[in-house]
Every structure is written in structure tokens, then in C-alpha cells.
């Protein structure tokens, strides 16, 4: 029987959302292909995850080994090489995340399988796979095809596919032997560390004033900080501001930073890259200020101001001060 295998992504005992997204898309593809939708679950003491995955799959291919307790591309590659070589799934779906980015290119090269990374669309016509990727930070989409025949590995962007409600499947847990041995590894997992927390917990604020690359210089940060203060809100930012060390990591909203759900989110000089949007799309109301009318942030925001932030933000601050006094 043909199959599509989704690699379950989990960390510290919890499945990550992208796993359900891949299973939802994978099930749709498996129906069009007349294939099974199976999940590969690698870990140690992950029976509770296997149980949770059952209704979304035909089989949970479970490999348990103490060496799989934390993700390591070396051990994952060994296990998946055996699994894919034996089962020859038509398609293996892996998340384009810190885990999948570390794993998929090496795995595909090792198995001599064609790989397409960071896909936001997959369509099948018979066994012909059409993919959609994004270029130039999401400014352009690209239709992409494979030049070689399958089986294939495709990595999937988090949040790109909705989790569709479908009737449960009678998933069967299939324990498989681990191919791992006691031999030393060239890469060893040591531990997790949390990024230093900021002075203010931005996840608790009702109003977040968030600043991006458009602020141009560290010296300009007070312009937005003063607006946040006037509103009684907290100051947050997008990735480039942290990369440039203008604000601490604890202020960062997005995939690699915090996920926030304030009542109101004011995005100032933020273009709206998908990594940022992933961290703030749950806000009650989003107001965006950007001088580029084509900035993707305006597709996410309910209210938009196309203007130079240096002209609008100081006026807004004064207005808020004045009106809050009265």
C-alpha cells in the first residue's frame, strides 16, 4: 500500500502544532493518492503522544529509544533512513522548523531523495507533485516542480496549512525496532536554555506597541517607547530590532520570540514577515503604521495607516496624553 509519512514534531513531551497541520494536509493528499496516512513518532516515553496521534492516522510508526529523548539530527537521520528505505513512502512530510531545517537536507542527501523546502502549498495530480514556495521574504510566490521521480521529501512551513476537521481514523500503533547503537555521535545534545526574560512580560499586556526595522536607528526607539508609556502598554518589537541589539530578546514577537494576544497590537515600521505574523495574528485588534502600502502587515491588520512613522507616532503620543488627561 502506498503511504504518506508525516514526521511528528514534539519537544519536552508535547506535540507541536505543525504536526497536526502536516497530518491534515497529508490526509487530504493521501486520499487523492489512494494511500495511507501514517506518522513517524521518534522519542522516549512518548506513548501518550502516540495515543493522541491515533485518530489522525492509519498507523503510528513508533520508534522508542533513550537516545531519541531529545531531537538530534544524527539519530533522527539514522532512524528515518531505515524507516524510509524499508517502507518507501511516496511522500515524507517534515516541518520546516528548527528541527526540520536541521534534519531534512542531510536526510534527503543521504537517501538521494529529491527535497523541496519551506513549502506553503502541495498539490497532487496523479503522482505529479506541484509545490508552492515563497521567495524574497514572502514578496513573491513560486510554483515549483520536481525534476526527478519520487519518493520525495517536502518540508512544510508552520501555519501554512489549516487543521481541517475530519472523521477519526482507526490509527494503529506499530512499534518498530530502533537501529541506534551505543556508538559515539559527532553531535551531542546537551540541554535546553531559555532566552533571558525581559523586564516586562509582553505576553501579559493589553496594549502592545511593537516596532520594526522602519525605526532605522537605536536612537529612535524612545519615540515608540513614549507612545507605549502614554497608552499604559508595553513595548515589543520584530526580529531585526533584536538582531541589531536595539531591544532585548524578551521583547521579540514572532516564531523565534513570543506569541502574544493583546487586546490591541500596534505594529510600527514592521513589514509583516510571516515569522512575525505567526506571533501576533491572535491579537484582538491590529493597527499597522507603515510607509509602504504594499507591506504584508496591511493584510493582517484591521486598521492601517500608510504614513511615515516619524510624522505620525509623536502626534499620536501627544493626542493620547491630552485625551487621557481629560
Amino acid at each position: 500500500m502506498k503511504e504518506i509519512i508525516v514526521l511528528a514534531e514534539h519537544r519536552r513531551g508535547e506535540l507541536r502544532d505543525v504536526t497536526w497541520e502536516m497530518l491534515s494536509k497529508g490526509r487530504q493528499l493521501s486520499e487523492s493518492l489512494g494511500a495511507e496516512i501514517n506518522v513517524a513518532l521518534l522519542g522516549k516515553g512518548v506513548n501518550h503522544l502516540a495515543e493522541a496521534l491515533k485518530p489522525k492516522t492509519n498507523r503510528v510508526l513508533l520508534v522508542e529509544d533513550e537516545r531519541l529523548e531529545a531531537f538530534n539530527s544524527v539519530t533522527y537521520e539514522k532512524v528515518l533512513t531505515q524507516l524510509i528505505t524499508e517502507r518507501k513512502p511516496f511522500l515524507t512530510l517534515i516541518a520546516h522548523t528548527a528541527m526540520g531545517m536541521d534534519l531534512a537536507p542531510g536526510l534527503a542527501t543521504h537517501l538521494k531523495m529529491p527535497l523541496a523546502t519551506d513549502c506553503i502549498g502541495i498539490d497532487l495530480e496523479g503522482e505529479t507533485v506541484s509545490l508552492t514556495r515563497q521567495l524574497y521574504g514572502g514578496k513573491v510566490n513560486a510554483a515549483v516542480s520536481f525534476l526527478k521521480t519520487g519518493p520525495y521529501i517536502v518540508t512544510i512551513r508552520s501555519g501554512a496549512f489549516p487543521v481541517l476537521e475530519k472523521g477519526p481514523l482507526a490509527g494503529e500503533i506499530v512499534p518498530l525496532p530502533s537501529p541506534l547503537t551505543a556508538e559515539g555521535l559527532a553531535k551531542r545534545f546537551l540541554q535546553y536554555v531559555e532566552a533571558a526574560a525581559g523586564e516586562v512580560d509582553i505576553t501579559q499586556a493589553d496594549i502592545l506597541v511593537s516596532v520594526g526595522r522602519g525605526i532605522k536607528e537605536a536612537e529612535n526607539i524612545p519615540i515608540v517607547k513614549e507612545l507605549a508609556d502614554a497608552l499604559g502598554g508595553a513595548l515589543a518589537c520584530s526580529r531585526p530590532v533584536v538582531d541589531k541589539k536595539w531591544l532585548p530578546k524578551g521583547c521579540q514577537v514572532g516564531t523565534s520570540g513570543k506569541t502574544v494576544k493583546p487586546k490591541v497590537y500596534i505594529a510600527i515600521g514592521i513589514s509583516g514577515a510571516f515569522q512575525h505574523v505567526a506571533g501576533m495574528k491572535g491579537a484582538g485588534t491590529i493597527i499597522a503604521i507603515n510607509k509602504d502600502p504594499k507591506a504584508p502587515i496591511f493584510s493582517v491588520a484591521q486598521y492601517g495607516i500608510v504614513a511615515d512613522l516619524f510624522k505620525i507616532v509623536p502626534v499620536l503620543k501627544e493626542k493620547v496624553k491630552e485625551l487621557r488627561k481629560s
Partner: protein, 263 residues
């Protein structure tokens, strides 16, 4: 410590108006400014910091036409010792996999302890090339690195995960790391600095120098092909608040009051 850094020259599109060209397979690059890929600027800076601390050499490699010399010279001005450009008409149309093959063959000719690349490129965003190179060379890798320390024959590396979490791993040398933005503060390069390295030789290698056959590179050596570009579908879009700054400010204030943010 001898370090190789793989870099790419890319068009700067963050603040630019991007449109698709007549072929439908590329963007219209006229009028765009090109620069060193942002991730690569952190990779080259990290290599130079290591060289300053531990000695050794930094060799920078790029695949591309003569235009790429500009980015290679920027790296030389930052402190790299040697620059190599991989160029051949047969390389055109190479995807991430074929690009990795070309880079790996060039790297085989040079002694190294460590290879650094950016985590991804601003243009095609594969996030694939560095690790594929590592696999082809048979050395261990770590991606999304935002902190590293050299400890004798191994490295202690932090990888950036999601949600503010990091993973600490130990990795044996020689190794390849893909560098995440924010790991350091790339140094500024002055026009004078670029002028000083203007005459420095940039070696070029093509298919035959790299023991590659033409069918192994370019489109015939690739796994995927770009069929066409299209603009992303636009969502419903925001309601635009227009008027003089004072009027807009008043509208924002009303929204804030209405949506419960202000107390």
C-alpha cells in the same frame, strides 16, 4: 583555525517594490540594490571574530557571475584572507542541491577546520545549501546557530529553536554551522576599506576545475525547478485611516478606547 565561509550576493527587496519580469520566472531586478545576504554577513563576521581570537585563515567562497566580486571584496575588507568565485555558464539554473554540490567540490580543494554559511538566503530561502554541503563532505553540522565557543577539537553551539528556546549541542570538528542573524554585530566596511582590497586576486573555478560534469550542475543536476512566479494573494486588507496626523491620531484613540485596550 582555518575557516571557509560560503556567501551569496542578493538583491535587497525588504523595502523595494518587487515585480515579476517578462519571463515570469524571475523578478525584475533593474533598479534593485544588491548586497551580501544578511545571514552571510553574520557568518563572515563570526569567522573573522574566531580568526582574531584563535589565528588561522578565512576563505570566502561564492557561486556567481562577476557581480559577486563586489560581495567577496566586502568580505575581504572585513578581514577575510582569500576569496574564490565559482562560475560557469553550466551552473545557471542550479537549485539548492546543485549549488551545494558545486560548493562542496570547491571546498574539497581547501584545508579547513570549520565551514560557516548563513542559515538561508534572502532571495530563494531554501535553508538547505549549508547542511547539504556538510552531508556531501561527510562532516557533522548544526543549523540556526546563535552562539558558539571553540573547545579544542569540538564546538559548544547554541541553536535557536522556537518560542525563545535554545538548544545547546556539542559538535566535533571539522564541522559546518549555519549561522542565524543576531549572533554578532557585523562590522562596518568603509569605501576606503573596499579600495584597499580592490586589487586582491579573486580565484575563479568552473566545472572542469571542480571535477564536475556539466550534467551534474545547473538544471540537469537539480532536483527542483521553478515553473513560474506569481504575487501572493492579498487578504481582505486593513481599513485605511486617512487624513492629517491629528485626525488619524484621533481615529486611533477612538479605536483603542473601543477595543478595550485603554483603561
Amino acid at each position: 583555525m582555518n575557516i571557509i565561509v560560503c556567501i551569496k550576493r542578493v538583491p535587497e527587496t525588504t523595502d523595494a517594490d518587487v515585480s515579476i519580469d517578462k519571463t515570469g520566472k524571475d523578478i525584475d531586478k533593474s533598479g534593485l540594490v544588491f548586497d551580501l545576504n544578511e545571514w552571510d554577513s553574520y557568518a563572515i563576521e563570526e569567522a573573522i571574530l574566531l580568526k582574531e581570537k584563535l589565528g588561522g585563515t578565512v576563505t570566502v567562497i561564492s557561486m556567481g557571475g562577476e557581480d559577486s566580486n563586489e560581495s567577496l571584496r566586502k568580505c575581504l575588507a572585513m578581514g577575510a584572507d582569500d576569496a574564490i568565485r565559482l562560475t560557469d555558464p553550466a551552473f545557471a539554473g542550479s537549485d539548492g542541491y546543485a549549488t551545494a554540490k558545486i560548493l562542496a567540490e570547491a571546498i574539497r580543494k581547501i584545508p579547513y577546520d570549520l565551514i560557516l554559511t548563513g542559515t538561508q538566503a534572502e532571495d530563494d530561502g531554501y535553508g538547505q545549501v549549508g547542511i547539504t554541503v556538510a552531508k556531501m563532505l561527510g562532516i557533522p553540522h548544526a543549523s540556526l546557530v546563535n552562539h558558539l565557543e571553540v573547545q579544542d577539537k569540538k564546538l559548544n553551539v547554541h541553536r535557536e529553536l522556537e518560542g525563545g528556546l535554545e538548544e545547546v549541542v556539542e559538535i566535533d570538528l571539522p564541522a559546518l554551522l549555519t549561522i542565524q542573524t543576531g549572533i554578532n554585530e557585523p562590522r562596518y566596511v568603509s569605501i576606503m576599506g573596499i579600495r584597499k582590497v580592490a586589487k586582491k586576486e579573486i580565484k575563479t573555478y568552473g566545472t572542469s576545475d571542480l571535477n564536475l560534469k556539466t550534467e551534474e550542475v545547473g538544471v540537469s543536476g537539480s532536483q527542483i525547478r521553478l515553473e513560474k512566479l506569481f504575487l501572493p494573494p492579498v487578504g481582505e486588507g486593513a481599513e485605511l485611516l486617512e487624513g492629517k496626523p491629528e485626525e488619524v491620531a484621533l481615529k486611533v484613540f477612538d479605536i483603542l478606547k473601543d477595543k478595550g485596550g485603554l483603561t
